[in-house]
Amino acid sequence: MGKFLIVAAYAVYAAFWLRFLGHALVWRKASQRLEALGAPLARWSVKGCALAVLDVVLLGRVFIVNPALWIGEWVFHASFLLVVLRHLRFFLDPVPDWVWWMQTPGLIAGYVLPFALLYILVIRLLTKLEKYAAPANLFLLGLVLAISSIGVVMHGLFKPDLVDVKLFIFGIAHFAPAAAPGSVLFLLHFCLVLVLVLFLPTHIFIAPLVMLEARKREQALRLVIHEK
């Protein structure tokens, strides 16, 4: 089982980079393009930059269009990030101080994360507020819910041997694989994380850039016919 997981981890890692490379080739092509017809003469302003930062950090545009969903989405994204940072201790040795500082916030976020996901799923599926739910997004939400719930159960009830976990993860990350821990819950958690990496949506890399461009464009709307 351990060997299989190690091979699977490297396969997923390779698949992730291949997929990323596929997208990067298209992005590279995009970067070589001239702007098309009708591009407004966008200029950066302090206000535009501030709004763009709020869009990316606080998901400001989601707040404007759907405040009920926003709270769930923001808590989900923020707690997911904290949980990822908390998990860095398994990948690094020595563990930097700032990763140690993330342990308590990351732990709290780990307990909040499944509730944020449940909230989003309720809004998406059980209320009449939403008209569309992409199957791919529901799959990802369910997947992260399962991963985070197992994480909570492992922390609260069935703790795996953390030394074994660290040796296993660190070994994979540094191409010196070690034996897998005996905890079934951990193995399930790990497998589901591999599936998540495999299906990680690429919009997480590109959406912030498009949000910045959108603010720039909106700020430039007056240049189209008023000030030209």
Partner: protein, 400 residues
């Protein structure tokens, strides 16, 4: 034989990234007028984007780079073409997109790709280039009839002037009270204005641009720009939001350099004239009016305040607002040339506009777009709710 053409050719850098940035959250569906009347998510923005991403992957993805482009599923291509042409290109989806995708510009470029592949345009839209070539306008009406039926005899047009007025094909042939109102108001302002002769005032190119048929654009735009330049024009005024949109956003790029004149929507010119006392609205109108923001005027070029300033300056008028107005306005159904093919959708959307105006107890529905004017009037025929529909300049011209 395999079609190896890349699906990204017609797209700008920003648009290629936008396609990849869609989170498929579905927020846009709540603001899409086509969804309101069809309830069909298959023609929604996230579905269109999903399909187009597949096409790009087939021709530009890693596998395509290594082993050559893959054949795209023809059924999927046809579904996509239908979906992208059923859209009114109103841009409400982009306005409410949490990522900020500029859909009002994206859809027309995806349509252009469909044209290049022989899958677009659809229905009557395909006749537009031939009609324009033949008559100068997309309705294939004689140039001699462009001004004659509506142009007021009392109004004199200067041979040369700083100011020019472009009537536009839809106004001239399909919404004549509107263009008649325009010239009456321009005349009342008292500044001389010029116009091109009817056979020279050809289509601005928007019906071609919006349906993805770009071949004639250069010729049309060059003819028009040179025509106005020869008359010494410094300010070109137009009342059609679609014309104004393509003139400001695309004409410079199509023409190849900055235009020798600036473009203004007629409500900008009139609101300025009211402010500086060149135009006075003397007659009172004791009515509640509701103004519909045309998508290509509000979201397209940001003209939102000026029509309201004009209306507010009418003595006695009470202004009402649609729930969705300004940048957020809801399409009346006539946009994107979709009305030429998906007639029933357009009528249903037009009726929603009428119904809301009636529910708000407006005495009059004020429009400022010839396409809206023609289609909403058509939508009212045989409809249970009735309201008086007036173009903004038609209204103003009756009050001076």
């Amino acid at each position: 034989m395999k079609n190896k053409r890349s699906f990204t050719i017609e797209l700008s850098a920003r648009q290629i990234l936008e396609l990849d940035a869609c989170t498929r959250c579905g927020e846009c569906l709540k603001h899409c007028p086509v969804q309101d009347v069809t309830g069909n998510p298959a023609v929604s923005p996230p579905e269109k984007i999903r399909m187009f991403r597949e096409f790009i992957r087939a021709t530009d993805g890693l596998k395509a780079r290594l082993f050559g482009p893959a054949e795209v599923d023809q059924k999927l291509l046809q579904d996509f073409a239908k979906a992208v042409y059923e859209c009114t290109t109103c841009g409400a989806c982009g306005q409410n997109c949490p990522v900020g995708i500029f859909t009002q510009r994206l859809w027309p470029m995806l349509r252009k790709e469909m044209v290049k592949r022989g899958l677009g345009p659809i229905g009557a839209q395909a006749e537009t280039p031939a009609a324009i070539k033949n008559s100068g306008n997309p309705y294939n009406k004689p140039a001699a009839e462009r001004y004659k039926p509506w142009f007021p005899e009392t109004v004199k047009v200067a041979d040369r002037s700083d100011i020019a007025y472009y009537a536009g094909c839809t106004g001239a042939y399909e919404a004549q009270p509107m263009v008649r109102g325009d010239v009456l108001v321009l005349n009342a302002i008292g500044e001389p204005f010029t116009m091109l002769p009817p056979e020279e005032e050809v289509c601005c190119g928007f019906p071609l641009f919006i349906t993805g048929q770009h071949d004639l654009l250069k010729d049309l735009v060059t003819r028009l720009v040179k025509g106005y330049k020869a008359k010494g024009v410094k300010k070109l005024i137009c009342s059609c939001p679609c014309c104004v949109n393509i003139m400001t956003r695309d004409w410079p790029a199509i023409y190849g350099e900055d235009l020798p004149f600036k473009i203004r929507h007629i409500t900008q010119h009139v609101s300025e004239a009211i402010k500086n006392g060149k135009l006075q609205l003397k007659n009172k109108l004791s009515e509640a009016v509701i103004y519909h923001d045309p998508c290509y005027l509000s979201r397209g070029v940001g003209v939102i305040e000026e029509p309201r300033e004009v209306l507010r300056s009418i003595p006695g008028v009470t202004m009402l607002e649609f729930e969705r107005h300004g940048l957020n306005s809801r399409c009346c159904g006539s946009g994107g040339a979709a009305r030429k093919v998906f007639h029933e959708n357009a009528i249903a959307m037009g009726r929603q506009t009428i119904d809301e105006a009636v529910a708000k107890k407006a005495d009059r529905l004020i429009l400022s777009c010839p396409a809206c004017y023609a289609k909403v009037n058509e939508a009212m025929q045989g409809h249970k709710n009735q309201i008086r529909i007036t173009d903004i300049m038609e209204l103003v011209s009756g009050l001076i």
